[in-house]
C-alpha cells in the first residue's frame, strides 16, 4: 500500500517491536555456539591499594574451570594510552583491565574466571583468594572541594566546549541589580541501569579473526578499541549489536566485559561470553555528583543583567571527564555580564560517563530553579520572565539560532496545561489534605552532527537495501532510517530494509547526544539521493527513454517508477532499469556536516516543561499528578517514536528529581544500593497524566532533514519544573536531588 503522503512525519510503529515483545530479538548475551565458555568477573572489594596476592589454585582445580585470568598471567597487550582510547574517551589515561596489581576504585575488575558454565564460573570466582594492601582513599566530593581544579582540555572538548570567557563585570552588575536570586545545588551519583545487562559474546573464528556480539552504542567504536589493544587488523574484528536493550550513555565507551571476553577468546582460542551482573554495572561509569552555585541579577523590568553559574564535579584519578554544565544560561538569557566556571575534583572512583543529557540536565536544574526564584523576587510570572529575557540570538557566542520556536513551546504548552489557573502565591492551592503546585522550566540541548557513511542498494527485485554500522539503542533508529530511505526513493516501507548494528557496514559514530538522526539520517538521505541520481541516469540511458530531455528536478520517484512531473504518462520503472542492468545498483555515500555554514549558527532543540505536583506535608510524599512538555526540535521524522523518547525523558526527569540516587558509603568508598530494588527508579504507580506537544519548527540550516534529534531534550526541563512546582506547593525551595521526605516533613 502506498499513499501520496511522505513517510517522514508519520507515526509508524517500531518495525522490530513485535520481535522485542515476543522475546525473539536476540541480544549480545544470547548468541549461543557449540563449545561456548563463560567468564565471570571478580571485582575489587577495596577502594584503593594493591593486590598483594591472588591465589587461583582452588578455583582452577575445579572440574570444568578452564582458566583464571589476572594481572599476573594476562597476555602482553598494547603499551600506549592512545591504543586504549575510544570515541568517548575523556582526556587522560584510560582504565586498563587486569593491567597491574594497583587498585584504583572499588569494584575494579581484577580477575576473570572462565568455565564451562556460568554457574560454575561464578562459584569458582568465590574460591579465588585475594589479599590486598589498602591505602587511604577519598570518594566524597563535598569533603574535597578544596581540591577543585580546571579540567585539562582534550579531543573530547570538541563536542563538549569548556565554559565561555567572562563578559562585562559580573560582580558589579550583580551588586547593582534590582533583584537577585541565588542558590547552591547538589545531586549525587547516578547510574544508567539499562534493562539489558552488559554482555559480550566473542566467537573465535581462527587466524586472528573475531566475531563479537557486544552490548554497545557504537559497533565501530568497539571494533577500533579491540583492534588497537589486541593488535588485530580492523577488518578481522567484526562487532555486531543488532539489538541494544537501552544504553542511556552507558554503552558509549567499550566496557570491560568486551576487553575480558576478547582477551579470553584469543588466549583460549574458543568462544567466550562475559555477562556482568546488575551490581557489576555499578563498577564503570556514572553521572558525576556535582555541586553548583548560581547568582542571577535583574533590573526592575525583569531584564537579566548578570549571570554567574559555577560547577564543581567529580572525576576519576585517571581521566578528566567533563560535561557542559555552565554554558547554557547565557544561551537562553542574553545578559551582558557573565561569569561561568567549571572545575573538577579527582576522586578514587571510576571515570564518570555520559548519561542522558549529560551536563544539560545538571545545569538546567540550577539555572531554571534560580529563574523561578528570580520570578518570585520580581513578582513576575515565570513564563513572562523568560519571555522578557528571550534570546533571539545566542549571545554566549554571538550567533543567531538556526531556528528557535521556544516561544511557541511556552504559548502552546501553557495553554494545554492550564497555566493560567495557577495562583502564584506559594501554598495557595490545595486538593483535599494535599498542597498543589504548578511549576515550569525551559529545556535546551545542542543539536550536533558528526560525519557518517551509508550504503544504498537497489536489488535485482527492485527492493531497497540501506545500511549503516549505527546501533539502535531502542530509540527507533531502525524505523526512522527506513522512513528516510523509503521517502528518498519513493518506495513503500515494505520494500525497504535497513541493516545496521554491524561494524562491517558503512561508518557511523557512537549513538548518543541526540545526534543520530542528524548524523546517520543525513548519510542515509545522501546515499538515497545518490542512488536516485544513478537510477535517473540509467533511466535516461535506456534506448528511446521516455525521460530523455528531462532533468532530475522534473521527475518524481513513486512506487518504483520515475515519472515526469509535467506529463505523468512519461515514466520509466525501476524494473525497466534493472532489466538492462546486470545485477543490483549500489551507491555508498558520506555525509559530512556543512561545517562552514553550521559554524555561523547556534543550533539547539528547546522545550518547555510544565508540572503539577501534590504534596502530602504530613508524610512528605510528592506525586507528579500531571506533566506536559512542549518541544521544538525541528522536523519530527516519526511522531510516535519521538513522543516515546520525550515521555521516557520525562519519566527520567521525575526519577532524577524525586527518586534515583546511587548511595555511597564514603568510609568504605563503595556504592550501597547496586540493585534495582533499592536504586529507585519510578514504577508505574509513580506515573500519572503525561503529555507531549511538538511545536512546528522549520530549520533549513541544521541538516537536509531539518531535524534536531529528541534523545535528551525530554529530560532537561522536567527536574527543575518539579522542584519549582514543589516550591509553589509548599514554599520550600529544595535544591538537592532527589527531593526526599527528609526535606519536606
Amino acid at each position: 500500500m502506498m499513499s501520496d503522503q511522505p513517510l517522514i512525519g508519520q507515526p509508524i510503529s517500531r518495525l522490530e517491536g513485535h520481535l522485542k515483545v515476543t522475546g525473539t530479538a536476540k541480544y549480545a548475551g544470547e548468541y549461543n555456539v557449540p563449545g561456548l565458555l563463560y567468564g565471570y568477573v571478580i571485582n575489587s572489594t577495596i577502594t584503593k591499594g594493591k593486590i598483594s596476592s591472588i591465589n587461583t589454585k582452588i578455583a582452577k582445580a575445579l572440574p570444568g574451570v578452564i582458566e583464571v585470568f589476572t594481572h599476573e598471567n594476562r597476555p602482553s597487550l598494547a603499551w600506549f594510552d592512545m591504543q586504549y582510547s575510544d570515541m568517548d574517551a575523556p582526556p587522560g589515561s584510560p582504565f586498563r583491565p587486569l593491567h597491574t596489581a594497583d587498585i584504583k576504585y572499588n569494584g575494579q575488575p581484577i580477575a576473570l574466571v572462565v568455565a564451562e558454565t556460568f554457574e560454575l564460573a561464578r562459584y569458582a570466582a568465590s574460591c579465588v583468594e585475594i589479599k590486598y594492601t589498602e591505602e587511604p582513599f577519598s570518594t566524597d566530593l563535598k569533603e574535597n572541594i578544596d581540591k577543585a581544579r580546571a579540567p585539562q582540555p582534550g579531543l573530547a572538548t570538541f563536542l563538549k566546549p569548556l565554559p565561555p570567557k567572562p563578559k562585562g563585570d559580573f560582580e558589579k552588575a550583580y551588586n547593582d541589580s534590582f533583584a537577585k536570586a541565588s542558590g547552591e545545588f547538589y545531586h549525587g551519583t547516578e547510574h544508567h541501569n539499562p534493562l539489558e545487562l552488559f554482555s559480550t559474546t566473542t566467537i573465535y573464528e581462527g587466524q586472528g579473526k573475531l566475531t563479537i556480539y557486544d552490548k554497545t552504542q557504537g559497533t565501530i567504536n568497539s571494533q577500533l578499541y579491540v583492534g588497537n589493544i589486541f593488535g588485530l587488523h580492523f577488518k578481522d574484528v567484526r562487532v555486531i549489536a543488532p539489538y541494544v536493550g537501552g544504553g542511556f550513555g552507558s554503552g558509549l565507551r567499550p566496557q570491560y566485559q568486551l576487553f575480558l571476553s576478547v582477551m579470553a577468546a584469543l588466549e583460549l582460542k574458543r568462544p567466550v561470553r562475559v555477562t556482568l551482573e546488575r551490581n557489576q554495572m555499578y563498577t564503570f561509569g556514572h553521572r558525576p555528583p556535582t555541586i553548583q552555585n548560581t547568582r542571577f541579577g535583574a533590573d526592575a523590568n525583569g531584564k537579566i543583567t548578570a549571570l554567574n553559574h559555577s560547577a564543581i564535579a567529580e572525576t576519576s584519578q585517571f581521566e578528566d571527564y567533563t560535561e557542559v554544565v555552565v554554558n547554557w544560561s547565557n544561551m537562553l538569557y542574553p545578559a551582558e555580564n557573565t561569569l561561568m566556571e567549571y572545575k573538577l575534583v579527582p576522586l578514587d572512583v571510576y571515570s564518570p560517563l555520559d548519561m542522558r543529557a549529560p551536563g544539560g540536565s545538571t545545569g538546567s536544574h540550577a539555572i531554571e530553579s534560580t529563574m523561578d526564584e528570580l520570578a518570585y523576587k520580581l513578582n513576575i510570572d515565570p513564563i513572562e520572565l523568560r519571555l522578557i529575557n528571550y534570546a533571539e540570538t545566542d549571545t554566549s557566542v554571538g550567533r543567531p539560532y538556526s531556528s528557535k520556536e521556544l516561544r511557541q513551546c511556552f504559548i502552546q504548552g501553557a495553554e494545554k496545561f492550564g497555566w493560567s489557573n495557577r495562583n502564584p502565591e506559594p501554598r495557595s492551592m490545595r486538593r483535599g489534605n494535599k498542597l498543589v503546585g504548578y511549576g515550569m522550566a525551559t529545556g535546551i540541548w545542542e543539536s550536533m552532527q558528526l560525519p557518517a557513511r551509508a550504503e544504498a542498494i537497489l536489488t535485482k527485485e527492485g527492493k531497497l537495501l540501506v545500511s549503516s554500522a549505527v546501533t539502535d539503542i531502542g530509540t527507533g533508529t531502525l524505523t526512522v532510517m527506513t522512513q528516510i530511505a523509503a521517502d528518498e526513493l519513493g518506495l513503500p516501507l515494505a520494500d525497504v530494509t535497513f541493516s545496521y548494528g554491524d561494524s562491517k557496514m558503512p561508518f557511523a559514530p557512537i549513538q548518543g547526544g541526540s545526534f543520530t538522526v542528524s548524523t546517520v539520517g543525513s548519510a542515509i538521505k545522501a546515499a538515497g539521493k545518490a542512488l536516485r541520481k544513478k537510477l535517473f541516469k540509467k533511466a535516461k540511458d535506456i534506448k528511446n527513454s521516455p525521460l530523455k530531455g528531462t532533468d532530475l528536478e522534473d521527475v518524481v520517484f513513486k512506487n518504483g517508477d520515475i515519472i515526469s512531473k509535467n506529463n505523468p504518462a512519461l515514466r520509466v520503472s525501476f524494473q525497466d532499469i534493472l532489466a538492462l542492468n546486470k545485477g543490483a545498483i549500489k551507491t555508498t555515500n558520506t555525509s559530512l556536516p556543512k561545517a562552514f555554514k553550521l559554524k555561523k549558527y547556534s543550533r539547539a532543540a528547546h522545550s518547555a516543561a510544565f508540572v503539577e505536583v501534590e504534596v502530602d506535608e504530613q508524610l512528605g510524599v510528592v506525586t507528579v499528578t500531571r506533566s506536559l512538555t512542549a518541544v521544538a526540535a525541528g522536523n519530527i521524522i516519526n511522531p510516535k517514536t519521538a513522543r516515546s523518547q520525550i515521555l521516557g525523558g520525562m519519566v527520567w526527569g521525575i526519577s532524577k528529581a524525586l527518586r534515583e540516587e546511587t548511595i555511597t558509603d564514603y568510609k568504605l568508598g563503595k556504592y550501597m544500593n547496586q540493585n534495582l530494588a533499592e536504586y529507585h527508579i519510578p514504577v508505574h504507580a509513580d506515573l500519572h497524566d503525561m503529555d507531549v506537544i511538538f511545536v512546528e519548527e522549520k530549520d533549513e540550516i541544521i541538516n537536509e532533514l531539518g531535524s534536531k534529534g529528541v534523545g535528551e531534550i525530554g529530560i532537561v526541563g522536567m527536574p527543575p519544573a518539579i522542584a519549582n512546582a514543589i516550591f509553589h506547593a509548599t514554599g520550600k525551595r529544595i535544591n538537592q536531588f532527589p527531593i526526599h521526605f527528609d526535606s519536606l516533613l
Partner: protein, 328 residues
C-alpha cells in the same frame, strides 16, 4: 552459588528429618528471598529441603478463627474472601509489599523469615554482625536511612522488611511450628527477636523447626482498619515507616484497638502502651496526636534516619484517622 543437595520430601516429618541431616541445611519454600541470598553468597546451604510438596497449602476457617498453611502464597491470602471480609488489614498489608510476581511465589511461612534489606547485610564484603557475628555493624556509623529507631542494639540497627508481619503482630497471630521435638505454638509478638547481642538470630525458631501454619484468632476488626506504608516510591520499595491500625469503634468510642509499626525495628513493632491509652477514648484527631507521642517514647535515630522521628508519628496519626473515618 555453591553446590548443594536438593531434596523434595512429601511429608512434614520427613522434611524435618531431612533438614536435620546437615548442619547447614535450609528449607526452601517460594525461594523469593533464599535464592537471592544464595546467589549473593550470603547463605550457602549444603542441602536444600524443598517443602513445596508438603500438605501446608490450606486456608481454613475454624469457627471464625483463621488458619493459614505455611505454604499458602501471599497472593492467595490477600485475595481470600474470608480474609478480606474478616481481616482486611492483612490483605492490605500483604498487597503493600513487593510486586504481584513476588507475591505469587512468596509463601506465608517464608514471609515470616525474610531477611533484612540492610545493605551491609546484603554485601558479603561489608562488616555485618547479623551475617558474620563479631564482624561489626557497618550501618551504625554508615548509611542508615532505612534503619531502626526502636529496640536496636550497638550490634545491629537493621529492620524487619515484611509488611505482612506488621499486620500479623497487630492481629495477635500465633505461629505453629513442628520440629525434632514436640510441635509448639509461638505468640507472634515472641516470634521475632530484638537484635541484642545476637543479631544473627532473627527469630525464636529453633534449629530444624518448620513453620506449619499461622492462626489468627477471631477479632472485631472487619471495618475500621488501615495499613499505611510510606516509602521512596509508590510501589516495589521497602517501608521507611508503615503503620497497621485495627480499631473496633462503637458510638465513636474506641472499644478495642491494635497498633503496630513496620520499618522501625528489628521486629514488627507492637504499640501496646499506645493501645492502652486509646482504649475507651473518643475518636478525635487530638487523641490520635497524643497517642502518636506515646508511640514514639524511646525512639532513637541515627545520622540518616532522623526524619523517621517525624515521619513515624505522622504516619500513625494518618493511619488512625483513615481507619476511624476522620477526614485526612
Amino acid at each position: 552459588m555453591n553446590q548443594f543437595q536438593y531434596v523434595r520430601p512429601a511429608e512434614t516429618s520427613g522434611a524435618i528429618k531431612s533438614v536435620a541431616l546437615d548442619a547447614n541445611a535450609h528449607f526452601l519454600a517460594g525461594g523469593t528471598n533464599l535464592v537471592d541470598l544464595m546467589k549473593m553468597g550470603i547463605v550457602t546451604p549444603e542441602r536444600l529441603v524443598d517443602i513445596n510438596n508438603l500438605p501446608l497449602k490450606k486456608i481454613e476457617n475454624i469457627q471464625g478463627h483463621l488458619r493459614i498453611g505455611a505454604l499458602v502464597t501471599n497472593t492467595q491470602v490477600a485475595e481470600n474472601k474470608f480474609v478480606k471480609e474478616n481481616f482486611p488489614l492483612l490483605s492490605m498489608a500483604i498487597n503493600a509489599g513487593a510486586s504481584p510476581q513476588l507475591r505469587n511465589m512468596a509463601t506465608t511461612g517464608g514471609n515470616l523469615l525474610q531477611r533484612t534489606r540492610c545493605p551491609y547485610f546484603f554485601d558479603t564484603t561489608m562488616p555485618c554482625n547479623k551475617r558474620v557475628p563479631g564482624s561489626g555493624c557497618g550501618a551504625l556509623e554508615g548509611y542508615n536511612r532505612m534503619h531502626a529507631i526502636f529496640g536496636a542494639s550497638d550490634k545491629c540497627i537493621a529492620v524487619n522488611p515484611s509488611d505482612m508481619n506488621v499486620a500479623l503482630t497487630a492481629l495477635n497471630a500465633f505461629v505453629h511450628v513442628s520440629g525434632p521435638k514436640a510441635a509448639r505454638t509461638i505468640p507472634f509478638a515472641d516470634f521475632h527477636r530484638l537484635p541484642g547481642d545476637h543479631p544473627e538470630q532473627d527469630t525464636t525458631l529453633q534449629k530444624n523447626e518448620l513453620i506449619t501454619s499461622i492462626d489468627i484468632p477471631t477479632a472485631p476488626f472487619s471495618k475500621n482498619v488501615h495499613y499505611l506504608k510510606v516509602r521512596d516510591r509508590s510501589s516495589y520499595a521497602f517501608a521507611l515507616v508503615s503503620a497497621a491500625v485495627a480499631l473496633h469503634i462503637e458510638n465513636n468510642t474506641i472499644k478495642d484497638v491494635r497498633l503496630a509499626m513496620g520499618g522501625v525495628a528489628h521486629k514488627p513493632w507492637r504499640l501496646t502502651a499506645t493501645e492502652t491509652f486509646l482504649k475507651g477514648k473518643t475518636v478525635s484527631e487530638d487523641t490520635f496526636k497524643q497517642a502518636a507521642q506515646i508511640a514514639m517514647e524511646g525512639a532513637k535515630a541515627y545520622e540518616h534516619n532522623k526524619f523517621k522521628l517525624k515521619l513515624a508519628p505522622n504516619t500513625l496519626i494518618q493511619a488512625l484517622k483513615t481507619a476511624s473515618g476522620l477526614t485526612v
